[in-house]
């Protein structure tokens, strides 16, 4: 349990007696590269100063030099735990800017892929945190299933990790019947394993005691601090862009928005675990309703990319491909700017594109949920014990590549 916040003492020797502990940038519990400077009174954290930027690689600057289709390879590498969710978010904004309406098959496939990524992201978040807190089995079970999701990614796009699978107005490839059969197999066998993980996590007494009542984020703090996604929903902010601003096929699908009032680490994990079940429901429905037809939207001419098979097997397809990637033949977005967002596993992942009328962004701002959530960290950890740092950090699911971009 967190101790009462320490009384600010007027005794100057009090500050002298405090310890400074450097946590990171390389530490197993940070998972990625970030640094915390903790001020400790005994084992109680008095203050925490995050120091970030170790993975800053100028993604937003690169977004100004690459076109809407090329930048997807960079977007992939932001939250690399759920790369496809970033791709879908990026192209969602591009397509909104270009006013392209996706085909039904494409929206459903993207929905399925986005939910697979949500499962993968949540499994890693919960699994890795319980690993840090001493429970190894749940992590292994969770990783087994994530491996199967990677296999599905590989079968669909040729890449396990950085799939770069979406394109403006469509997807790189259509899925095969075999893939759909494999997906069906995944969602029928997943619940059994998931029950095990659920028991290993949410019924694990050590895990519960280390998470319950730790790092409490009140509803007001969540709103004032800009929290979104599972972090906000665990604090009683009942917002989910899938329900509130339906995009892709979410309007046609039936699912619940998981919320909690407690706002502590444990409820954040609970929300994530229950969201996995909702994601399974969504995938199941989307598979049953999956329409046929093309996966690329109807362009006004030849601006959208052709199918790869046509490019490699026909001269028309090859010409079409060249036309689609030549700057003077590409789609011309209006000279406008637009912010749009999707519900990524971690929260609201938004992009703000300023367009100067060409097929590349004049400014491609990312609104990364990790950055906003990590800014909340000092206020969550103050007054907690040193050992709680790992639990709070894990429950926020900070991905440093997205944090620093």
């Amino acid at each position: 349990m967190p101790l009462e916040l320490l009384e600010p003492t007027s005794d100057p020797s009090y500050r002298e007696g405090l310890w400074t502990l450097n946590f990171g940038p390389q530490h197993p519990a940070t998972h990625t590269t970030l640094r915390l400077v903790l001020t400790l009174d005994g084992e109680t954290v008095v203050d925490a100063e995050p120091d970030i930027g170790f993975l800053h690689s100028g993604f937003e600057k690169l977004g100004e030099t690459l076109d809407f289709n090329q930048y997807v390879t960079i977007v992939d590498r932001m939250n690399y735990i759920s790369p496809l969710a970033n791709e879908i978010a990026w192209h969602h904004v591009c397509e909104k800017l270009l006013d392209i309406e996706l085909t039904p098959r494409c929206t459903y496939l993207r929905t399925i892929l986005a939910e697979l990524m949500r499962i993968s992201d949540h499994l890693l978040c919960v699994g890795a945190c319980i690993l840090d807190l001493g429970g190894i089995s749940a992590f292994m079970y969770a990783f087994n299933e994530r491996e199967r999701i990677y296999e599905l990614c590989e079968q669909v796009s040729g890449q396990r990790f950085h799939t770069s699978f979406t394109r403006v107005g469509g997807l790189l490839f259509d899925v095969s019947d075999q893939w759909l059969a494999n997906l069906k197999d995944f969602i029928t066998t997943f619940p059994k394993m998931f029950k095990d993980v659920n028991r290993l996590v949410l019924k694990n007494r050590i895990f519960i005691e280390r998470c319950q009542g730790v790092g409490i984020l009140s509803r007001e703090e969540a709103i004032c601090g800009g929290a979104t996604g599972p972090v906000a929903r665990a604090s009683g902010v009942t917002r989910d862009l899938r329900r509130d601003e339906p995009y892709l096929a979410y309007a046609d699908l039936d699912f619940d928005v998981i919320c909690s009032r407690a706002g502590d680490c444990f409820s954040r994990f609970q929300v994530r675990m229950l969201e996995i079940e909702e994601s399974l429901k969504i995938i199941d429905q989307a598979m049953q309703k999956l329409p046929g037809g093309p996966i690329f939207a109807e362009g006004s001419g030849k601006e959208l990319l052709p199918q790869k098979r046509e490019v490699y097997t026909s001269i028309e397809g090859l010409i079409h491909h060249f036309e689609a990637i030549m700057p003077n033949r590409q789609l011309q977005p209006p000279k406008e700017s637009l912010y749009a967002a999707t519900e990524s596993p971690n929260g609201e992942l938004g992009f703000y594109i300023v367009s100067d009328g060409t097929f590349r962004a004049y400014r491609a701002r990312t609104r990364p949920p990790s950055l906003v959530h990590f800014a909340l960290f000092p206020q969550l950890i103050r007054g907690c014990m040193l050992s709680d740092v790992v639990a709070v950090l894990g429950s926020l699911n900070i991905i440093a590549a997205e944090l620093d971009r």
Partner: protein, 170 residues
């Protein structure tokens, strides 16, 4: 066809009637944008927060140096969200060299803290009254603002600005 953002615009315009300064509304796709002068930023944002736009989703800058027909150098963009109704508003204001300076929003939203630091880090826009005004992502020795349009994508070495710490000194 009546624009879907029209009722929201009318309601917000009424709420902002007491706030001085020019206001220009515009709509693109389904997003409502409000353009204001930097001088009326604080009263406008305070009022918008009072009428329910309680979350600052995003805050960023755009360097308009190479943007056709732009009259100002930097645009600050604030994305506001009403967590109850789901309404969104984009607030824009412009600042210029040599001293791009704006009042901080950290007094209204704590989420502005790091995002303003990032905007300073990347664009050099100073936020007066910010509680912790230093670089966020880049090291303190970094001397330029890389997301400005006059900063090249590649070819600018920055290492000469960094102090060399030898093993014996460390």
């Amino acid at each position: 066809m009546m624009n879907s953002t029209e009722p929201q615009k009318i309601a917000l315009e009424a709420a902002l009637s007491a706030v001085p300064g020019p206001r220009a509304w515009s709509t693109f796709r389904d997003s409502l944008r409000l353009n204001i002068d930097a001088i009326s930023l604080v009263p406008t944002m305070t009022r918008l927060r009072e009428v329910g736009l309680n979350m600052l989703i995003d805050l960023t800058a755009v360097d308009l140096l190479e943007y056709a027909d732009a009259t100002d150098r930097y645009r600050m963009v604030y994305q506001l969200l009403d967590t109850e109704s789901g309404a969104r508003v984009e607030v824009r204001t412009h600042v210029n060299d040599p001293e791009p300076k704006l009042p901080t929003m950290t007094t209204l939203w704590s989420s502005a803290n790091w995002m303003e630091r990032e905007a300073y880090d990347m664009f050099g826009i100073v936020f007066t009254g910010h509680p912790n005004a230093k670089r966020l992502l880049l090291p303190d020795e970094f001397a330029s603002f890389p997301l400005r349009k006059d900063y090249p994508v590649k070819g600018r070495g920055e290492r000469h600005n960094f102090p060399v710490v030898t093993r014996s000194e460390s």
